[in-house]
């Protein structure tokens, strides 16, 4: 059975500069302990004193979402996920540079 639902306005998540750590947990389906460990590993730099009241830069949301998925789907632990995210980002950055350089070289 298919319903046609009316048009929905989408809100951008994380347009503000900081997001509460508890909100990050909900969005990425992460436990707060995992966010704390990811912060200790340097994957995200929160501000605030108590983890329950931490705020996390909105820009870190995509990388935290990837870390959460890798942990969930591949059964890897927090340090493994943090390492994988950093390596994936480095790989994408290098690929971007390669594509840019390839466009500069004559075919």
């Amino acid at each position: 059975m298919t319903d046609v639902v009316e048009m929905h306005e989408a809100q951008l998540v994380g347009e503000a500069e900081w997001i509460a750590a508890t909100e990050i947990c909900r969005l990425c389906r992460l436990e707060l302990d995992a966010v704390i460990e990811l912060a200790e590993l340097g994957l995200v730099a929160p501000r605030g004193y108590e983890p329950e009241h931490w705020q996390v830069p909105a820009a870190a949301l995509p990388r935290l979402a990837v870390a959460a998925r890798l942990m969930r789907d591949l059964g890897i632990n927090v340090s493994g996920a943090a390492l994988a995210v950093e390596l994936l980002e480095a790989q994408r950055d290098l690929e971007r540079r390669i594509r840019r350089l390839e466009r500069l070289t004559p075919v």
Binding site: D3, V5, A10, P62, L88, R96, R100
Partner: protein
Amino acid sequence: MEYRDYYQILGVARMATAEDIKKSYRRLARKYHPDVSKEKDAEQKFKELQEAYEVLKDPEKRAAYDQLGSEWKSGQQFRPPPDWASGFEFSGSRSRGTSSAHVFEEEGFSDFFSSLFGGGSPFGAAGKRQRQAAGRDHHARIDIDLEEAFGGGTRTLDLKRPELKPDGTLELRSHTVRVAIPAGVTDGQLIRLAGQGEAAPGGGRAGDLYLEVHIRPHRLFQMEGRDVTLTLPVAPWEAALGATITVPTLGGAVEMHVPAGAQSGQKLRLRGRGLPGQPPGDEYVQLKVVLPPANSPAAQALYEDMRAKLGSFDPRADLQAKP
């Protein structure tokens, strides 16, 4: 609906041990995980793997699946037997592991899975969900073009979500959502559709639907956050003497001044011409000097003239050993 051979999907024999199944799933999940894999159709394959593993890792579901017999082949037309799953006793542990992530993962599963193991089937976790006051959030991925990210747009999404039937069981219901995508969305960003997640069984607040945005690679522009980079071919005289050149941007072509003495690889910035936002991104234009071919006597004469008149120019001066 079509039959799915879960053993074949996981690349294991029907007699495989739980350990073999787990190992094979881990190996293939690593290969096809959409965040890691460069394989074609990785996302689709990963969903199939998750679906197969969901059944074969659970001894009760596996036993029920095995009861269908080994004569079936993937893709064959299939209808669940009328006495499906009768005569099984379910352990209480089945629903303990059900998390919101689990519900999300089942969203992309096949009709085959839904009819045998989804909500509404004897294996569904309807009882657990009934006790919830608020609906769960749902997550999905949306692929858009850079132009849509720049100007916003409307998208129609076909999604499946579990809904509570009057008899207390759940069914997967297809629904179509039209989404107005906000201008300025970036790759990896989440957008929220309030109240479009799981309906709350007790009439409480429905969950939200989160869409993770993926922007497809663009023919001309490369993205980095809100900034975009364009490689702009220029003639040697445009770089050497300076020129005003028409340059494509996401918002339409603009005139850009290339300063005299520009070099290949040099980057120029068009402020605010990237994706909109606070602040908006920039467009970087990277120059690529393209030489005209020396394929006519006139062109050859010009190059020879350059050699004669610019003979002191040494493009390899930096390679000389310094004292």
